[in-house]
């Protein structure tokens, strides 16, 4: 029985072919310590980012996406910490066990991060250019001129007046410009892994489309391994090759974007897609997912975290949904779904096919 369909041989070959680093997250749990208790915001996640691909991480607000993204940089904020698991990044090592200084050096250099609030990600008292030189100093870059050249070419590549940008203070830039300057900072030291947290959330529609096409182009150009974190499944549909759906700190479904969007298996994924008219075509049928996502305190301790909002559970009332946390089950080769109902249906179909 194959346990992890996503980590089969094809990926290993791709790593050799693509050359960039891939990311392998195993059994990752991140907990915030609140009132003396560890509350897991990310619970036992396995995820792999194939080299040279764009993966979209979606889920409602509070599902643990930012926590997961920060964990990749060894930057989980207080009072949180990684309690179990490993995060193996090519060219860096296991971020969880790496020395703090090595983690610091990997940030910016191998792992580029575009901050959730890229709107305010610059020091308001310094020009972009001065902050670029600070970056050079922090990463022991001797050839500052070539770094500036590199920054300029990135900025121009994104359609900006590079000279003006380097001379500007943050408050002189529009939202779209700030976001692009943020991407420049993430990539100027030639990072191979790019993590973007809600890259379009604060932007108007035109800037959103613009940033998405930039993310796509830059990722392809530089053969980046990219993780786009968003609550907007529409964004994922537009840029990513693979999709990972998160709920209550768990990955409930992952697979190739086109397959998952065309034929979502997990009841939560189905609900997310139903809520967005432009994805399934008929605005009249758009339906918001009922209920609210769990918070750290309200996440059920046993069983499936989604069952309270689940239409399948409401219908079938499977005992397993109350008793055990569903594990990822491989489906259709490249997909993983964590759902008792889907798993048993799948097994049955398998048995019938064999019989």
């Amino acid at each position: 029985m194959t346990m992890t369909a996503g980590s089969g041989d094809p990926l290993v070959t791709a790593a050799v072919v693509g050359g960039g680093p891939s990311v392998q997250i195993r059994d990752l749990t991140v907990a915030y310590r609140i009132a003396g208790r560890d509350m897991a915001a990310v619970a036992g996640i396995d995820l792999e980012l194939p080299p040279g691909s764009i993966t979209g991480l979606v889920g409602e607000s509070g599902s643990g996406k930012s926590t997961l993204a920060l964990a990749l940089l060894g930057a989980v904020q207080k009072p949180g910490r990684i309690t179990t698991g490993s995060i193996e990044i090519d060219g860096v090592g296991d971020v969880v066990t790496l020395a703090p200084k090595a983690v610091r050096k990997a940030r910016g250099a191998q792992i580029g991060y575009v901050f959730q609030a890229a709107q305010n990600s610059l020091n308001p008292l310094k020009t972009v250019g001065r902050q670029l030189l600070d970056l050079a100093k922090s990463h022991d870059v001797d050839d500052k001129q070539s770094l500036v050249r590199q920054a300029k070419s990135l900025l121009e590549r994104m359609g900006l007046d590079a000279g003006r940008m380097l001379d500007a203070y943050q408050h002189e830039l529009s939202g779209g410009m700030r976001q692009r300057v943020g991407i420049m900072f993430a990539l100027v030291l030639n990072a191979h892994l790019l993590v973007l947290d809600e890259p379009t959330t604060a932007l108007d529609m035109i800037s959103q489309a613009n940033i998405l096409s930039i993310i796509r182009d830059v990722s392809t150009d530089r053969a980046l391994t990219t993780l786009v974190v968003t609550h907007d499944i529409g964004v994922v549909a537009e840029v990513s090759e693979r999709i990972a759906v998160m709920y209550g700190g768990r990955l409930v479904e992952q697979g190739p974007t086109t397959q998952v969007l065309r034929d979502p298996k997990h009841p939560y994924t189905r609900g997310l897609i139903r809520a967005i008219p432009r994805l399934h075509g008929d605005p009249a049928l758009a339906q918001a997912l009922p209920g609210r996502p769990p918070t750290l305190g309200t996440t059920p301790e046993t069983g499936c975290v989604f069952r309270e909002r689940c239409d399948v559970f409401a219908r079938l009332q499977l005992p397993a949904c109350v008793e055990t946390d569903p594990r990822p089950t491989p489906i259709d080769g490249d997909r993983l779904v964590s759902c008792h109902a889907v798993a048993s249906e799948h097994q049955q179909a398998d048995r019938e096919a064999r019989a």
């Binding site: 920060l70 940089l73 930057a75 904020q77 610091r104 050096k105 990997a106 940030r107 910016g108 250099a109 991060y113 901050f115 609030a117 890229a118 709107q119 305010n120 990600s121 610059l122 020091n123 308001p124 008292l125 310094k126 020009t127 600070d134 970056l135 100093k137 922090s138 990463h139 203070y169 943050q170 408050h171 002189e172 943020g182 900072f185 993430a186």
Partner: protein
């Protein structure tokens, strides 16, 4: 930068209005003083055998306005004298012009206030950063508590405590008069003398006002620590030293507003501190002129303190404009 010029002009205009209000106030004060000192001097001169004409000329020299005529003409006379920087003559030190006396006292006070401000600012900023960084430890708590306690001690109490402890109980310093033979100015003797006499009053200033800077700096650092751009800088792999500089530069900005206010506070405090330490500045001058009912000297000292506070405020405001590009560039375009 036409807008910056306009801003400066606005400051100056507001300053002038303030000065005008204060001068009017002192005019009314002297004029309406119980026992009317102007009228009293006039009458005593008449008694000494002055002609009414000579007596009123003498009074005009002292106070800057003639003792009779309508209130408005007295006021007009007074203002026109002020415009010529003529503050009248001292009553207690006969024949000495108040302008000269006030100016020489001002030199001592300005040195003292600057030393006090610099000392307390530096102390408050450094300890404020430490208190913020160690805010969950005993050191941080201790600093914050010490800061707010000292902040609550009035300057004159601080001055009296220091005088009692360091000149009476353990006489480490003298409170004798500054050597009157030393020429105020930019020479070694003057500076050395200012230092030896200014140590205690400057310490009193610093101790009674660094607490405010400490508390402001602490809360400012804590708020900057939570700002997005600090996390963003860390996620870019910026070195801890640079991150610290980002934090401190941004955190220090709100302190410039406090700085502007504190200059006024300092000049006000000079009144108590200088007399407690027998320090020959404007505060001491003001106190002695009040004691001797030397109203012309009093109003002169009062006026100069006002002007000093206003100028200090303008400087602090301009400083803020220079440090914060959001203000600077906005005024440039």
């Amino acid at each position: 930068m036409p807008k910056a010029v306009r801003q400066l002009a606005g400051h100056l205009l507001r300053g002038l209005v303030m000065v005008w209000i204060v001068t009017t106030f002192t005019f009314v004060l002297v004029h309406e003083m119980p026992g009317n000192p102007v009228q009293a001097q006039y009458e005593s001169l008449i008694e000494k055998g002055f002609s009414p004409d000579a007596a009123s000329r003498q009074v005009a020299v002292t106070y800057g306005f003639v003792p009779h005529g309508s209130l408005w003409s007295q006021y007009g006379h007074y203002l026109s004298r002020l415009l010529h920087f003529d503050l009248g003559k001292s009553v207690s030190a006969q024949g000495v012009s108040v302008a000269k006396e006030v100016a020489s006292a001002a030199k001592w006070t300005i040195g003292l206030v600057l030393a006090g401000v610099v000392l307390s600012f530096a102390l408050g900023v450094v300890l404020g950063v430490v208190a913020a960084m160690r805010r969950n430890s005993r050191l941080g708590d201790g600093l914050s508590i010490a800061g707010s306690l000292l902040h609550g001690v009035p300057q004159y109490v601080m001055a009296l405590v220091l005088v009692t402890l360091l000149t009476v109980k353990w006489p480490l310093f003298s409170t004798g008069d500054v050597n009157g033979l030393i020429q105020p100015g930019f020479n070694v003797a003057y500076i050395a003398s200012i230092i030896s006499h200014a140590v205690l009053p400057a310490t009193a200033f610093a101790l009674s006002s660094f607490g405010g800077y400490l508390l402001t700096m602490k809360s400012s650092v804590v708020s900057v620590l939570g700002d997005d751009f600090i996390l963003a800088a860390e996620l870019r792999g910026l070195s801890p030293g640079l991150v610290f500089r980002y934090i401190s530069r941004n955190a220090i900005l709100p302190l410039f507003t406090v700085l502007a206010l504190s200059f006024g506070f300092m000049f006000g405090g000079a009144v108590f501190i200088e007399s407690a330490f027998n320090y020959p500045g404007m505060g001491a001058l003001l106190v002695s002129s009040i004691g001797q009912r030397d109203y012309s000297e009093m109003s002169g000292a009062f006026l100069l303190i006002t002007v000093a506070v206003i100028l200090a405020n303008i400087v602090a405001d301009l400083l803020y404009t220079v440090v914060d590009p959001r203000v600077r560039r906005a005024s440039g375009t």
